[in-house]
């Protein structure tokens, strides 16, 4: 055995035993943005057994300032983040089994992704997915670690089914059009601070040192120099629809699933056909080219420009329309070119 994990095994709370446990574990990272990239790199270097990373987007130039797994070539080629992340992670540590999933994580997807998973790390950019993750976590008794970040502010909490309150207990409503990274910006140190809290808790869970878990809702502002750690266990609601005595897991109900969504404030609409099925990208490209449309493509997606809008079609049938103001306009383009 080489020295790869020696410094981590010298750290008494992990040790040889913890390292072995880590090696047997499967972590799921939902979202491969800034938090996802940072958490994935830490767990990969630490030698987790298996890592699944699911993301619906591709790499853009505006990601490179903070999404540490990606480089310029990924932005030029519009590589899906899951693929670009997996490529980099495999280069960092070939011993870790890294599984890349290009998908918009919805109800059906999360049920499939959760199979055999020991821990879920939230690296998404919206609460729709987080409430889904929260429900699936309670249903299958799998812990998950929330992380959120905007500007220089961030926060994190570790949800342990049966022990802590769940997200539904902590948040009685969805934030209304809150500030996002696209409107308020975000700086890398804030991301790193959130990711550090998340991955430290992840290591504790994966190495089975549950007693060392923080147990508080931690929040901080690395620019205003604030730090706060609050015990929220009194918010556990015995009547909670997700974690109470008679759970119904409301967010796993298909009636609550969004089909179109304005993505995190960047003039982008995602359209998700009700039944996702693979698109023959090569055929679509031919047909668009025959209409005189200039098409760019890679093995995972194709994109083309119509007036001010850029349309990106993923192989799984999802479509992103950039540069439109509303969902209707995006739908019109979708139906005009993609049926």
């Amino acid at each position: 055995m080489n020295e790869r994990y020696s410094r981590q095994m010298l750290f008494p709370p992990i040790g040889k035993e913890g390292q072995k446990k880590l090696r047997e574990k499967h972590a799921l990272i939902v979202g491969a943005g800034a938090l996802g990239a940072a958490n994935a790199e830490t767990l990969t270097r630490a030698g987790v057994g298996k890592l699944t990373i699911a993301d619906r987007d591709y790499v853009e130039w505006s990601n490179l300032q903070r999404q540490q797994l990606y480089c310029e070539g990924d932005a030029v080629r519009k590589t899906p983040k899951a693929i670009a992340a997996a490529n980099r992670l495999k280069a960092i540590n070939s011993e870790v089994e890294v599984i890349a999933r290009i998908m918009d994580v919805g109800i059906q997807e999360i049920e499939e992704l959760i199979e055999g998973v020991d821990l879920i790390i939230d690296s998404t950019d919206n609460f729709d997915i987080r409430f889904l993750v929260n429900d699936i976590s309670q249903k299958h008794r799998i812990p998950w670690i929330y992380g959120g970040c905007v500007g220089s502010y961030g926060l994190s909490y570790t949800f342990l089914p049966g022990v802590s309150p769940c997200l539904n207990c902590l948040m009685d409503k969805l934030p209304l059009g809150g500030t996002t990274c696209d409107t308020a910006g975000v700086i890398q140190p804030a991301i790193q601070m959130v990711a550090a809290h998340q991955s430290a808790e992840a290591l504790k869970i994966l190495a089975e040192d549950f007693e060392s878990l923080r147990g508080t809702l931690v929040s901080f502002d690395v620019w205003k120099n604030h730090f706060s750690s609050v015990n929220v266990s009194s918010l556990k609601n015995p009547h909670c629809l997700t974690c109470g005595a008679n759970p119904v897991y409301p967010f796993l109900d298909y009636r609550n699933q969004t089909k179109t969504a304005l993505l995190c404030g960047r003039d982008t609409v995602q359209i998700r056909p009700s039944a996702l099925q693979d698109v023959d990208v090569a055929y679509l490209e031919k047909s668009l080219v025959s209409q005189g449309i200039n098409v760019e493509s890679n093995p995972y997606l194709l994109s083309f420009k119509i007036n001010q809008a850029r349309v990106v079609v993923f192989k799984d049938g999802r479509v992103l329309v950039h540069g439109v103001r509303d969902i209707l306009q995006a739908k019109n383009l979708y139906h005009r070119f993609l049926g």
Binding site: P175, S228, V232
Partner: protein, 67 residues
Amino acid sequence: MNVVINGDAMVLPETVNSVSRLLEHFNLEQKVVIVELNQHILDKSMHAETILTDGDRIEIVHFVGGG
């Protein structure tokens, strides 16, 4: 009134005398927040009627979606 918010000592205007007013003061009334007053988590339904007093230590955590 002198209070400590998220570790910072500050002076609040006289009109800011309840937790709800405090959240408005910081433009947090639309946000999803958790407020701890003197190491005690407040139920959300109590924000309007919870009166602040001199020397209170308050922690305000608001949820954000970015990542």
